[in-house]
Symmetry: D2
């Protein structure tokens, strides 16, 4: 029997990617799509490349009036989901792709490649942000094995335009301005910092200090890369080995000898991690690259939905990277 699935926020990039993944998911049946802006529109008008589910009509988003659902994916603008999702019936499991429920009581933090077991029983999952997803995939093995210090970690992160999104506010997204441009933004105050800090603390078992996080906007549509500078007297080889062991059972994380490319992950739920160390200088460079809409949003959300509905976590996510 197929799982009945709904998506709210289908006109954003994250919701749109959830739509694409649900369209071919063998165990999911999409029965509801909700929104604010485009109510009454058929999906295929917004997404001309959709198959059968393109016939669905966008309904007015009202948590009290949902059809019978097993799982709801929410991809709402920051600040708009707390009150609304609280009114979703308890019988409906929720994966929140947005940022409002990360490290909120009653919500499992859906870092599926690190803590899959605790997601299993959850009925409310807060999907990690795109920057945390790329960053933590690279850091988790080293923190867990105490190969690096949890303090004073510097994350120099770079995102394509679909990741910086509309909520960023500090940067315009017009083609003429973004194309052939590169810049840092949100210095020392990006909204993703607390999420990253809390997760570092939890994995390392320490109260970390001094996290630095600098996002950059890159002229490309998809892709996110975190280049991370940490302190540790460890070799490149040891980091690779530890990471390979840590992720041995995790199908979506790939540890690579070469520095990762974001394009290796485009359209997939993969995340690539690699390391370069100089123990003489107490230096570890950890790198994580993924598709900000895949592992950084809807891909991980579907993985989480698979886990909480008792399916193989890879179901519907086997598609290889689109290349070139």
């Amino acid at each position: 029997m197929r799982i009945k699935v709904g998506i709210v926020g289908v006109s954003g990039y994250g919701g749109g990617e959830a739509l694409r993944l649900c369209a071919t998911h063998p165990a999911f049946e999409l029965v509801y799509v909700g929104g604010e802006g485009s109510v009454g529109q058929r999906l295929v008008e917004r997404y001309p490349g959709l198959g059968k589910i393109g016939a669905l009509t966008i309904e007015k988003w009202e948590p009290a009036n949902l059809p019978k659902l097993d799982v709801l994916f929410a991809s709402l603008p920051t600040g708009q989901s707390k009150e609304a999702l609280a009114r979703v019936p308890a019988s409906v499991k929720v994966v929140d792709i947005g940022g409002d429920h990360r490290y909120v009581e009653g919500w499992a933090y859906g870092l599926a490649d690190v803590w899959p077991d605790e997601i299993k029983g959850a009925s409310r999952v807060a999907n990690p942000g795109c920057f945390p997803a790329a960053t933590l995939a690279a850091l988790a093995p080293l923190l867990a094995e105490k190969l690096i210090e949890p303090h004073n970690i510097i994350i120099d992160a770079k995102t394509g335009v679909s990741g910086a999104g509309r909520g960023g506010g500090e940067t315009t997204m017009g083609y003429g301005e973004v194309n052939e441009d590169l810049s840092p933004y949100g210095l020392l105050k990006h909204v993703h910092m607390p999420e990253i800090t809390k997760t570092i603390d939890r994995i390392s078992g320490a109260k970390s200090e001094g996290l630095v996080f600098t996002p950059h906007l890159v002229p490309m549509t998809r892709g996110i890369l975190a280049t991370i500078y940490a302190k540790g007297k460890v070799t490149t080889e040891r980091c690779m080995e530890i990471a390979r062991a840590f992720y041995a059972e995790r199908p979506f994380v790939r540890v690579t000898d070469k520095p990762p490319h974001t394009k290796w992950a485009t359209g997939s739920n993969l995340v690539f991690v690699s390391y370069a160390c100089d123990p003489a200088r107490n230096l570890v460079i950890a790198m994580g690259a993924c598709d900000n809409l895949g592992k950084g949003a809807a891909g991980q959300a579907v993985q989480n939905a698979n886990i909480i509905t008792g399916h193989a976590e890879t179901l519907g996510l086997e598609g290889a990277t689109l290349w070139p």
Copy 2:
């Protein structure tokens, strides 16, 4: 029982896309990948985003030494497949993504959305070129119904960089040169012209004259668009209606009211067609847009392989467009 499949030419864009599609095809089992340049390399080294089939090793391409195969996809440079494919055992069905066997005796022309029936029984299929695929999808219904004259058709075509490919020869493909640039090339002598002419003749039942074909290189990776100017006293509505009827049973062709966008098709086997007419001026503008590596190459090739092996033509091709 799964179909045993091989691909030769996996380091090119067309072969790479065939790889991606075979990786998740439910009825195909990829058992052989051949090439010239990267023999001995594991696939995953070239394509880090591949799943299980990434473990395959690229073997030296030698048609006499193939393993037991049901279907071979060939994606070889122009001029390199005639002799070699002639030596592939008759028991192996061949879909040639390259251009050497189009309108060659003994080879079915794989325009799968127009003549699916005659492909069915074939064991040798010549896949259409990317420009013909976009062009003919738009023209076929009008020619078949004699709504336009087959003569003096002007095709102004635009392709992304992966379509102009290495065989083009006249244009360099370096990022610094191609980015933020646009230009026509191959004026009045492009290699795809005879293929288009022959197909127009066959659909229309006439000996057409005066075809004009002008390709342009556009700074994007994937996507191909044909804007076609033909003569006919017919309304836009009638063209739409005729095209919708013509393609009623064809899952990959979408007739749209709005002018098509190449991005509607990225990563899929879809082709979008639309029309704008001015009967007072005897003018029909027909438009066709697709992914040059999808419907324009590997997507159509997999569709053809589905047809000749007795599967539903959509099998393994249900993936929705990657957007944005």
Copy 3:
């Protein structure tokens, strides 16, 4: 003595490019910048790369309150300049980069490479649109020499995003949507058609019929290309020869043997034209490529301002193309 110059509409792309050109123009002194939206802002806040003139403050645009000016460049949204520019004192010469005064009585049509002489005495010049600029540069010599028929000319035009601009209305300009996409728009009804038709008529001395104009949006910031299909029994060589003679005294038009690239013109006032003919088929393909903000807007505007103020037309426009 330097010419006192003002620009209204500095926050748009056309006004911004006028600013860049005036910044280093040896005979122009920029003394006024006006706008609606950013009144009070210093120019350098919007354009951090400006030199000395960056210190100017954007003033509220009010034609009755202008400082003493010799020339005013206007780059206002369509529909907003007719009433306002009528109130500019007669002592101020005006070059309207916008579209409201093309073929309006009392305004010279500033196609500077075709009719420089009649611009000379004008005090009101309507600058040609970007599509007309690229198109007419290629067509003018052939029409003037009657090498092609003025009827049934088909213009397949392609523009970068800064050319389709905000006035286009039919297409969104967000990076995620535009990047890696290509599509036609404004089919059979684009606003530039009457301007092109009137100019064709004037050059050819005939009342032309059946013009077809199809613009396309291309994922690049600058650049415009017109690929034009016309009827004429003339050789490629003859077209080249005639064009070279026609433009012998015109420093900004280059007739090239190879099909033109938009990138050859980036940042300059150049326009490149070329031809490919098949007299046996009565076919002439004419091509014109330029920077939509250069020859297609502000470059030509400065050329026109040079002409009406008695300077060499090349003054301040000698900068070579930015490449790559």
Copy 4:
């Protein structure tokens, strides 16, 4: 009297940009262009947008056979200029845009915004690399004033494709591979590291340790950004103030409150620097952005040539940024 100038290496990006700048330089007369590959070709065939100097013919590069020159710009591949430039007559001043003479005895290091005085008397100038140019502009004021420690500086640098160039070797530059991709390269071993270290040492007067330099390739043609993490108990405001004082007489360096954008500098010799500090954490983030072919190569080379020939350093470099 105009300075007679030659350029060797005109087919590369750096040499091409030197060409563009010399084309309109009011005091330079380009009389010689040399190369290896395209001998006998007229410049305009490679650079269709060039003006008068396009008539020059590329001559076989042979230092013993130069015409009478005042200044020679050399932009040769790494490793090819040491022997050759040693044979240039002493009467010809040389600015080496390539990397072979940085910190070589007898060659001034041309960091023109930091040490203009010592360049003045030189007849051999080694132009800084593009990464050093962006990095050192941001660091110099802080190092000079000892606001930051010279040790353990982390430089996370990002470059457009024209900067990573052909010499990089580790990354391919094909459009299909580079577009929509982002990746680090040359980890812990990039060729620019010694140059940066030596300059840090010289400015700070200390022997620095532990420099980390991580370049990234970004899908854009021009632009380079260095995001630098250093240690110092200083406020953002103090860094800004110090930098503004340090560069008070330097026309090409702009200290900005907002994080810099590479696009602010496109086509110009400008470099933008900014700072964000957290003294409580002993953290300084310094940022530098420029055009890798401007301040990062040919722009700075022309500035150096101005200085050694006794001209104003801004001569011929006044052009404002190309935007958008």
